[in-house]
């Protein structure tokens, strides 16, 4: 993985020193809250419902064991012994004290990490495929490109005060596991005539106005990545609305001005500025050296036999590796009943130990709020499973209905309009109790606690959006969303449900699916594409369905 240079180290340490001084000035009154707030946000420090929250960047979701152990240490020393992994592949600490935050940032800098640009109207953490560097369907490892963009966008003087935040995602595989078309810029590595380049989409995003990104360039040569992305940002910086934050994202500019107009402007700017950029070859070569594949140890190509629990886990939590003797392991942070995406300090250390012993010191965080061990020898899977089970991390549910994405919601978030976590917990426990999750099969269920859609509810098979209606929590349901290369925004089913009705409503949808599917092989997504919304609406809202479920 990428290692900090002296320049990076010096830059991050300097920012910590500056922030330490800013905190002191806030406390002694030399800075007002109005002056301090943008400074703390630029360093990832939010003020939430119950406490401050520090959001730490995990670039493209990549960590090593030393960094994971340091996150564990930070959580114990300055927080409450756990961390929350987010849909943007970051980690959040929910209980830091203001005076402690500079020390936390110094501790992060000790392992080449920071919280810069995890908030504010700037280019945020570049996200990527959590199977990067390991996936069997990969054309090229997207992480060197993501790192190039990270270096380019970090403290970029022109893009610190954009009209609104800006998110870039990149995948190097044929399957889109990074939800690229739901980002301000989505990059998909493609090969053409033997050359590697990118399909570039712009104007995707979720939130209150969900939009699917549109292809602005079907093939961008690798060498042009930075100048072209800079041209997009430059155009957006000029055109993006600053009078209304709800209309400030680039998706609104693309929608209002039209893709062709935006494309012409970007191409004109690109033509004008391209010559100012040195080629990316040298920088990419240097970065790629840091992302060399590990020296893989050979092993058997079959998954060893084991207990029923082991077999259930291998059925759901493994993905194909590009080597036949290895597998990609998803460590579920979704044991039914737990807070989705949370890991205790002990669990973080257990994962770090496994990464070192069996995983070539590589860890990834997925946007589905799980941890990935990208390279595990199949021969080592029983030992990995045993260690995960001992740490309470062996839930066999990756990709199933209990593998729920949930934002922090009104349990923590100051922006939330309803709770997400208890809804996710109740649904996961219900299907665990009914022993139905494996019978239901692959099903993405995502919960957001407000219209900002951090829980990605728009692109779930079953999406749940928590809102306030007349002073009470109400939950809207969308169906048929898809985060993959087939991306689709879910359709709203109709009126929302009260907090004590939403779990039953989900059960009615799933029961309907089990009755309607043409075989056990037809997934929920496939059944929905075949049947459409109507039969599920009937199951949700008809008196008969409600009475049967009651």
């Amino acid at each position: 993985m990428y290692a900090y240079s002296d320049f990076d180290e010096s830059f991050v340490r300097n920012r910590v020193r500056q922030f330490r001084d800013q905190v002191e000035r806030r406390i002694d009154g030399r800075l007002s809250e109005d002056e301090f707030k943008p400074l703390r946000l630029m360093n990832g420090l939010y003020l939430q419902l119950h406490a401050y929250m520090l959001r730490v960047a995990i670039p493209y979701g990549t960590l090593d064991a030393r960094q994971m152990r340091q996150l564990a240490t930070i959580s114990e020393r300055w927080d409450r012994g756990y961390g929350h992994f987010t849909t943007r592949q970051n980690i959040q600490f929910n209980w830091p004290k203001l005076r402690d935050v500079p020390d936390m940032l110094d501790a992060l800098a000790d392992v080449g990490m920071h919280a810069i640009q995890t908030s504010g109207n700037c280019v945020r953490n570049v996200t990527s495929d959590h199977f990067a560097g390991a996936a069997a369907d990969e054309i090229a490892d997207p992480r060197p490109y993501a790192e190039l963009l990270r270096q380019w966008s970090s403290d970029h003087p022109e893009f610190q005060y954009l009209p609104r935040k800006f998110k870039i995602a990149i995948t190097g595989a044929t399957a889109d596991r990074a939800v690229t078309r739901a980002h301000d810029i989505g990059l998909r590595v493609v090969a053409r005539d033997g050359a590697v380049g990118f399909e570039v989409s712009v104007g995707g995003g979720l939130g209150r106005t969900p939009m699917i990104g549109r292809v602005i360039r079907d093939f961008l040569p690798e060498a042009d990545l930075v100048p072209y992305v800079e041209a997009v940002l430059g155009v957006y910086n000029q055109l993006g609305r600053r009078d209304n934050k709800y209309k400030a994202r680039i998706k609104i500019a693309v929608h209002e001005m039209g893709l062709d107009t935006i494309r012409d402007l970007v191409e004109a700017r690109f033509a004008e500025t391209r010559s100012e950029f040195p080629g990316a070859e040298a920088a990419l070569a240097e970065i790629r050296a840091a992302f060399r594949a590990p020296d893989f140890r050979a092993g058997g190509t079959a998954i060893p036999s084991g207990s029923p629990a082991f077999r259930a886990w291998t059925d759901t939590n493994l993905a194909p590796h590009r080597r036949e003797d290895h597998a990609i392991v998803t460590v579920s942070l979704k044991t039914p009943g737990q807070q989705p995406g949370d890991a205790s300090a002990d669990q973080m250390r257990a994962i770090a130990d496994l990464a070192e012993t069996y995983g070539y010191d590589e860890i990834r965080i997925s946007h589905r709020q799980n941890v990935i061990l990208p390279h595990v020898r199949k021969d080592d899977l029983p030992a990995v499973f045993e260690a995960l089970a001992a740490a309470g991390l062996a839930a066999a549910n990756a990709g199933l209905i209990s593998d729920i994405i949930a934002c922090p919601g009104m349990d923590y978030c100051a922006l939330a309009t309803a709770r997400s976590i208890p809804v996710a917990q109740e649904i996961a426990v219900l299907f665990e109790t009914l022993d139905l999750a494996h019978e239901v099969g692959p099903l993405r269920l995502n919960v957001s606690g407000c219209i900002n859609a951090c829980g990605h509810h728009h692109v779930a098979d079953i999406g749940i959006l928590g809102l306030e209606r007349a002073g009470v929590e109400t939950y809207q349901i969308t169906l048929g969303g898809d985060p993959t290369e087939r991306i689709a925004i879910g359709e709203r089913t109709g009126p929302g449900f009260a907090a004590d009705e939403i779990v039953g409503a989900v059960e009615r949808i799933v029961t309907a699916y089990l009755e309607l599917r043409d075989s056990a092989d037809e997934t929920f997504a496939e059944a929905y594409r075949r049947l459409g919304l109507a039969p599920f609406q009937k199951a949700l809202y008809s008196e008969e369905s409600r009475e049967n479920a009651a």
Partner: protein, 101 residues
């Protein structure tokens, strides 16, 4: 049409810890809503809010929150405020920063 004033308390977040706090009749900030001063008319509420806003060395973002009144003290009305009083659902996070609740 102007909304009818409802009994309210002044609440904010503690500058140092970030925890919810409520303003008492003697101008202190309490971690317990039961100790908050109940403001029964808009003029007093605005005056107390202005006083709270000048207390930036202790708190962040003061605002008025509507309450129900009872002999044991005020209780939050809106569910958001209920969650601020109660704490998150997470077992290890619940209430331990809210002595007296």
């Amino acid at each position: 049409m102007k909304r009818r004033f409802h009994p309210s308390v002044v609440t904010a977040n503690d500058l140092f810890e970030g925890h919810p706090v409520w303003r008492t009749a003697d101008g202190r900030w309490s971690a317990t809503i039961r100790e908050a001063e109940v403001l029964r008319d808009p003029e007093t509420a605005e005056a107390r809010l202005a006083a709270a806003a000048s207390d930036a060395a202790r708190v962040v973002g003061p605002y008025l929150a509507e309450v129900a009144t009872a002999p044991e003290g005020p209780a939050p009305l809106h569910f958001r405020e209920v969650f601020r009083v109660r704490g998150p659902a997470h077992a290890s996070d619940r209430l331990d920063h809210l002595p007296g609740e």
